[in-house]
């Protein structure tokens, strides 16, 4: 049983969506009311900073710190953009949240916008989340009617206008500057940074981009306070709860709200129901397709940003994909790299040309046609691509390749020596 306090999944009932009336019944919009009546924008930024909340979109940057860089005093318009592209394989938590309880995001958006003194917001929603888009359309209409969106919200003098943008596919739109180009109706290649979006973002104006889960946490932090939020984590350096989306070779592949810092082994056994088909755990992606593998030696590790960085991986989006001991990690890595190669936006050479070359090499070795020179070339490519791409997509693609070469090099060599896949 899950004994973690449920914040984000508080109202979640399988197969149902909670709308305005029921959202208010469980305390919905109380945080917003409290903040607008009793807190200044800087107070909110300070609470969020003190709460230790780190961005849930993958990079894990301190949300409060990011907000404190925002030029809240600059003239309007200023934008708050919510990123619900969620297209990294293994990641489906934001979709689950919006399928269950869309008002949480709306309340979080208004609160965050108030803290940043932003007057216009956009929620960017991936094509496949059609139901979630429709949930949000209804939630926005309800919130407007109730006076939680629009002009002079709750008589506070604060105005906030919120738009929804349904996208049309492509992983790269999750990269924040590509997303901004997408919202502007331009070809969504990423932009050069700096200038960062806080300086020149959407339509050239100051903009903050945050993940769905990040923003949905804000009302809970305002309600419960920074200390309380921080203490929800299991590890001392962590903060809050986290949505863990389980997938791959587990008996139970569902999404759970659990404390940050829960050990990997506990997650797999107590929530994933153990590895399927009575097989053994071999490896996992701890936080989406771009995060280097963990293996059985990491089962005790606290799932959080810093502990995972220490072992050469990343917490990412906490979408945990498990592989059993019958899995060929070379074949899995090939699948992952094929994803990145196909989703490359084609702007820069290391990614556009480098990733297909990596796929070609992996495929050749997987089929048993590889040589030691191919393995050398694979390593060379990894070095050539790392740190040389225009945006972080190609860097992310190097995650699984790094994991393969660091943790499963012998498996690659076996393919070469046996002349076939050993699995």
């Amino acid at each position: 049983m899950n004994s973690t306090p449920q914040l984000l999944f508080k109202n979640r009932v399988a197969g149902q969506t909670i709308f305005f009336k029921d959202y208010c019944k469980t305390g919905g919009y109380q945080a917003l009311t409290k903040a607008l009546k009793t807190m200044s924008p800087t107070e909110i930024v300070d609470v969020v900073k003190a709460s230790g909340l780190r961005g849930r979109g993958g990079a894990g940057f301190s949300t409060g710190l990011k907000w404190s860089f925002f030029p809240a005093d600059a003239p309007r318009p200023k934008y708050l953009v919510c990123n619900c592209d969620e297209m990294e394989p293994g990641t489906y938590k934001d979709g689950e949240l919006l399928a269950a309880d869309p008002h949480q995001l709306i309340e979080g958006m208004v609160l965050s916008a108030y803290a940043l003194n932003a007057d216009v917001g956009y929620i960017f929603i991936r094509y496949a989340y059609d139901q979630q888009l429709r949930n949000l359309q209804q939630a926005v209409a309800e919130a407007k009617k109730a006076g939680y969106l629009g002009k002079n919200i709750l008589g506070s003098g604060f105005d906030f206008e919120l738009h929804l943008h349904g996208s049309a596919g492509r992983y790269i739109l999750g990269e924040e500057t590509a997303l901004l180009n997408g919202l502007e109706g331009k070809r969504p290649n990423p932009r050069l940074k700096p200038p960062f979006p806080a300086v020149r973002g959407l339509f050239g104006r100051p903009t903050t981009v945050n993940n769905v889960e990040t923003i949905a946490n804000i009302p809970h932090i305002i309600n419960g306070g920074a200390e309380w939020f921080k203490d929800l984590a299991r590890n001392p350096e962590g903060a809050g709860t986290k949505l863990f989306g389980l997938s791959g070779h587990l008996n139970c592949t569902e999404c759970f709200e659990l404390p940050v810092g829960i050990p990997l082994g506990e997650l797999i056994e107590d929530y994933g129901g153990g590895v399927w088909k009575k097989r053994k755990f071999k490896a996992c992606l701890p936080g989406g397709a771009s995060t280097p593998y963990l293996t059985a030696e990491h089962l005790d590790i606290a799932l959080d940003f810093d502990p995972l960085a220490k072992v050469g991986s990343r917490f990412g989006t906490a979408g945990v994909t498990v592989f059993d001991d019958h899995s060929c990690m070379l074949r899995a890595t090939l699948n992952l790299l094929q994803f990145f190669a196909r989703e490359s936006c084609g702007w820069c050479t290391p990614c556009r040309d480098g990733l297909p070359l990596v796929c070609w090499l992996l495929e050749k070795i997987e089929k048993g046609e590889g040589t030691n020179e191919d393995l050398e070339m694979l390593k060379q490519q990894q070095q050539q691509i790392t740190g040389r791409s225009f945006c972080a997509l190609a860097e992310g693609a190097m995650g699984p390749l790094d994991g393969l070469l660091r943790l499963f090099e012998q498996e690659v060599i076996d393919h070469i020596q046996k002349g076939e896949c050993p699995f």
Partner: protein, 175 residues
């Protein structure tokens, strides 16, 4: 692209792509926003919903409504994989081939569909009903293997389930 010489015929073709009230609604939005281009995806999605895909005329219509050049629409339309710049079947099937679905039999699903429909990935059945397209993760990783037909998501697929779905759509198309 169609012949630019015959301008009025061209406008007639374009008008068939969206209802007048849809075009008018977009024109009103264009008049209200400072940056009309931001409407391009909405507009392309609407043209596609009504016509099944976005033709050259669809691109030109979007350009005309937004007051931009066709190439400015085209460079966006060709970027997104869920905007179809070629005709697709009545039921475009997007089969997820990313890691979670792959790890739970996604390849089998793709092979089975290709056999049952007697087409390869990227092709459309001769009766015009189905197009098979590989896609990356659909955000249904917990319900792998999965696919999307049109805008509808299907998860926890088995081969038997797949046959049932296809049969059902064939029946629906007859009715």
């Amino acid at each position: 692209m169609i012949c630019l010489g015959n301008f009025s015929a061209e406008i007639e073709i374009m008008k068939k792509l969206l209802l007048k009230k849809q075009i008018d609604a977009f024109r009103r939005k264009v008049a209200k926003t400072e940056h009309p281009r931001e409407l391009v995806i909405d507009l392309l999605r609407e043209i596609q919903d009504r016509n099944g895909w976005v033709s050259d005329e669809g691109v030109e219509l979007a350009a005309q409504i937004l007051g931009v050049t066709p190439i400015e629409v085209e460079e966006v339309a060709t970027f997104y994989d869920k905007i179809y710049r070629q005709p697709v079947g009545r039921y475009p099937i997007h089969i997820c081939d990313s890691i979670c679905c792959w790890s739970r039999g996604g390849e089998e699903i793709a092979n089975h569909l290709q056999q049952q429909l007697e087409i390869k990935l990227g092709e459309t059945t001769t009766d015009g009903l189905f197009t098979l397209l590989p896609t990356c993760c659909l955000g249904g990783c917990g319900r792998a293997p999965s696919m999307m037909i049109g805008r509808r998501f299907y998860g926890n697929l088995s081969l038997a389930e797949l046959d049932r779905i296809i049969e059902q759509l064939r029946e629906e198309a007859k009715g």
